[in-house]
C-alpha cells in the first residue's frame, strides 16, 4: 500500500487496537453472558487484522491469501441478514442500515484485496501487496464509490453517537438482561425476546442504585459507544486506503 509509512503505521496501530478491543468484547460477552453483536465483533477482528497487514506488510501475522473469500462470505452473510430484515414484518431502518454498512465494508475489503493483489502482480509478478501506487487499481470509480459510502456511514454513525448507551449504562442493563437473554434470545442477533430484553434494558438504564453502580465498573468493554467508535475508526481507515487507490 502506497502512502507515508508513519501514517500507515499509525492507521495499522489503530486497526490493531480496534481488533484487540473487538476480540475482548467477544471474550467478555462470552464469559459474563452479556449480549453483544458477536458476528459484527468477529468481522471487526478479522478486518482489523487484515487491514493492519495490508497497511504494514510486516504485520501480516496470519495467512496472506484467502481473505477475499473470508470477506466475500461475510458480505453474502450480511446481505442475507439485510434481505431477511427487509422481509421481516418488524424491519426497522437502523437494522437495515446496520447490515448495509457491514455489506459495504466487506465488499470494500474484497475490492482492496483484489485490487492490491492484481496491481502487485502486474508490478512484480509476485503476490505481495506492498508497493501499490495511486492510480494503479482497477475500477477506481468503484473505489471512490465505496469510499463515499463508507464516509457517509462514518458521518451517520458519529451523528448517532450521543444516543448510544455508554459502557457503564450498558453494564447495568446487561446485568438485568443476562438471565432474560440466556433463556429467550440466545444470541445478539435474535429477533425473539426483543420486547422483554428491551424492557429490562430500559428499566435497568434508569436504575442508579449503589449495587448497580458497582456492576457498572466492570462493563466498559461492551460499551455500544465504543463499538460505534470502532466502526468509525474502521470506516475512516478503510476510506483512507480506498482513497490511496484512486
Amino acid at each position: 500500500m502506497a502512502g507515508e509509512s508513519w501514517l500507515a503505521d499509525t492507521f495499522a496501530g489503530i486497526m490493531i487496537i480496534t481488533a484487540a478491543y473487538c476480540a475482548s468484547r467477544l471474550v467478555v460477552s462470552r464469559r459474563q453472558h452479556r449480549p453483544t453483536d458477536h458476528q459484527v465483533d468477529a468481522v471487526h477482528v478479522l478486518m482489523g487484522v487484515a487491514m493492519a497487514g495490508m497497511l504494514v506488510p510486516r504485520l501480516r501475522v496470519f495467512w496472506a491469501g484467502g481473505w477475499e473469500i473470508v470477506f466475500g462470505a461475510s458480505a453474502v452473510w450480511f446481505a442475507w441478514l439485510m434481505i431477511r430484515a427487509l422481509r421481516s414484518r418488524n424491519a426497522v431502518r437502523h437494522q437495515l442500515s446496520h447490515h448495509l454498512q457491514h455489506v459495504l465494508a466487506c465488499v470494500a475489503m474484497v475490492y482492496m484485496f483484489l485490487a492490491v493483489g492484481s496491481a502487485a502482480k502486474a508490478a512484480s509478478g509476485g503476490s505481495g501487496m506492498s508497493g501499490m501506487a495511486a492510480g494503479t487499481a482497477h475500477y477506481p470509480t468503484l473505489a471512490l464509490f465505496l469510499a463515499f459510502a463508507l464516509f457517509g456511514y462514518v458521518v451517520w454513525t458519529a451523528d448517532r453517537l450521543p444516543s448510544l448507551a455508554p459502557g457503564a449504562a450498558l453494564a447495568a442493563a446487561s446485568a438485568a438482561l443476562a438471565p432474560v437473554l440466556a433463556g429467550a434470545v440466545g444470541g445478539g442477533d435474535g429477533d425473539g425476546g426483543t420486547v422483554v430484553a428491551e424492557e429490562n434494558s430500559r428499566s435497568s438504564l434508569r436504575d442508579d442504585s449503589p449495587a448497580q453502580s458497582g456492576r457498572r465498573r466492570s462493563g466498559a468493554p461492551l460499551s455500544p459507544r465504543l463499538s460505534a467508535c470502532c466502526e468509525i475508526a474502521m470506516g475512516v481507515t478503510m476510506g483512507y486506503m480506498l482513497i490511496l487507490m484512486l
Binding site: T194, V195, E198
Partner: protein, 327 residues
C-alpha cells in the same frame, strides 16, 4: 402487555434490545442537520485526500505557491511565505492540515461539538481560501466557474454560516435562511451565483479555447469513462467556447435571481442549479479526485449542497416543524 405495545417495541429493533440505540433519546436529522452532515462528509473526504502521498511531497507547496502570481502583493506575499514554510516542514504541516480537517468533519457529525466544528470550519476555510487557493483566482483573472472559482473552500465557510444552529431558528422559506434570515441568505446566494455569472464572461472562460482546454486538461489520470466525457466535452467546445461561456453566464444569472421567484419557479431554479453544479463538477474532472493530487472535490458538490439548502420548503412555522437542536 397489549399487542400494540408489543409491535411498537418490536419496531424499536434488536439493537435497542442490547442497549445500542435509545430510540427515545434519538431525534431523526431534520433537513438542516442532513445538510450539516453533508458538509461534515465533505470535510472528512478532504481530510483523507490531504493524507495522500502527494500532499507530503514538494509538489504540494509548489501547487500552493502557484496561486500567488497575478495577485496583489498584499495577497501574494503571504501565500509565498506560507508555501515556503510548508515546503520546509512538509510532513508536520500537512499532517496538521489533514488532522484539522478530520476533526472538523467528525466534529460536525458529532452533535455536542457541532458549533465548535462549524466555527473552526469558517476560520479554516477562510485561511485555505487565501493561503491555499489565492482567493480562488478572482483577483488575478484566472478564476472561472469551471475551475472552481470563486474558490470551493469559500463555499464551505458560507455553508457553515448558513447552517449554523441558532438558539432561536428564524422562520424562513428554505433551510439556509433559518440562521441569518431569508433576506440575508438570498443576498448571499445572489452574490455567489452572480459572481459566477460574471466570471463566466471574463477571458479565463470566454476566450476562444479557454473552456475547451480547461476541460480537456482535466482528463489526464481520470478513469476512461470520465476522461472520455471530458475529452468529448472539450472537443465540442473547441469551436463554441465564447458562445458556451455566454450561455453559462445566462444560466448562472438565472440561478442567481431564482431564489427571489415564487416557490414553484424557485424550485425549478434550484433543480437547474443542481444540474449546473453537476455539469461543472464533471467539467472539473470530479475535482481531480483521481490521480492522487486532488485536495478537495472542488466546487461542484459544494454548489449542489448549497442549492439543496435553498430548496423551498412547505409553509410551516418553526413551532409546527420542531427541529432537533444540538446540545
Amino acid at each position: 402487555m397489549t399487542s400494540q405495545a408489543t409491535d411498537a417495541r418490536s419496531r424499536a429493533g434488536w439493537r435497542s434490545s442490547i442497549g445500542v440505540v435509545h430510540e427515545d433519546q434519538w431525534t431523526a436529522p431534520d433537513p438542516r442537520r442532513l445538510l450539516q452532515l453533508g458538509l461534515g462528509f465533505i470535510w472528512l473526504l478532504d481530510a483523507m485526500l490531504q493524507f495522500q502521498s502527494f500532499m507530503f511531497s514538494k509538489g504540494f507547496p509548489q501547487m500552493l505557491a502557484g496561486t500567488a502570481p497575478g495577485n496583489p502583493a498584499v495577497i501574494a506575499d503571504p501565500i509565498s511565505f506560507s508555501a515556503r514554510i510548508i515546503a520546509e516542514h512538509g510532513t508536520a504541516t500537512n499532517a496538521v492540515f489533514a488532522v484539522i480537517q478530520l476533526l472538523i468533519g467528525l466534529g460536525i457529525a458529532w452533535r455536542p461539538t457541532l458549533r465548535l466544528a462549524l466555527g473552526l470550519s469558517v476560520v479554516w476555510a477562510l485561511a485555505v481560501w487565501w493561503f491555499g487557493e489565492g482567493l480562488g483566482g478572482i483577483l488575478n483573472g484566472a478564476g472561472s466557474p469551471v475551475n472552481g472559482a470563486p474558490g470551493a473552500v469559500i463555499i464551505y465557510a458560507l455553508l457553515a454560516v448558513l447552517l449554523w444552529p441558532g438558539r432561536r431558528p428564524r422562520s424562513a422559506p428554505f433551510t439556509a435562511g433559518r440562521c441569518t434570515g431569508a433576506a440575508v441568505a438570498r443576498l448571499l446566494w445572489l452574490v455567489l451565483w452572480g459572481s459566477l455569472a460574471y466570471l463566466a464572461l471574463l477571458p479565463a472562460t470566454n476566450a476562444p479555447k479557454a473552456l475547451s482546454s480547461m476541460i480537456s486538461g482535466m482528463a489526464a489520470g481520470e478513469p476512461a469513462w470520465l476522461a472520455s466525457l471530458d475529452n468529448h466535452l472539450g472537443a465540442f467546445l473547441s469551436h463554441r467556447g465564447p458562445a458556451a461561456a455566454v450561455v453559462l453566464a445566462i444560466v448562472l444569472a438565472v440561478v442567481a435571481v431564482g431564489v427571489y421567484l415564487p416557490r414553484p419557479a424557485a424550485r425549478a431554479v434550484i433543480v437547474l442549479a443542481i444540474a449546473t453544479a453537476t455539469v461543472i463538477w464533471i467539467a472539473e474532472g470530479l475535482g481531480g479526485l483521481f490521480g492522487g493530487a486532488g485536495t478537495d472535490p472542488n466546487s461542484g458538490p459544494l454548489l449542489a449542497l448549497l442549492a439543496l439548502a435553498y430548496w423551498p420548503l412547505a409553509n410551516r412555522s418553526p413551532a409546527e416543524n420542531p427541529v432537533s437542536e444540538p446540545a
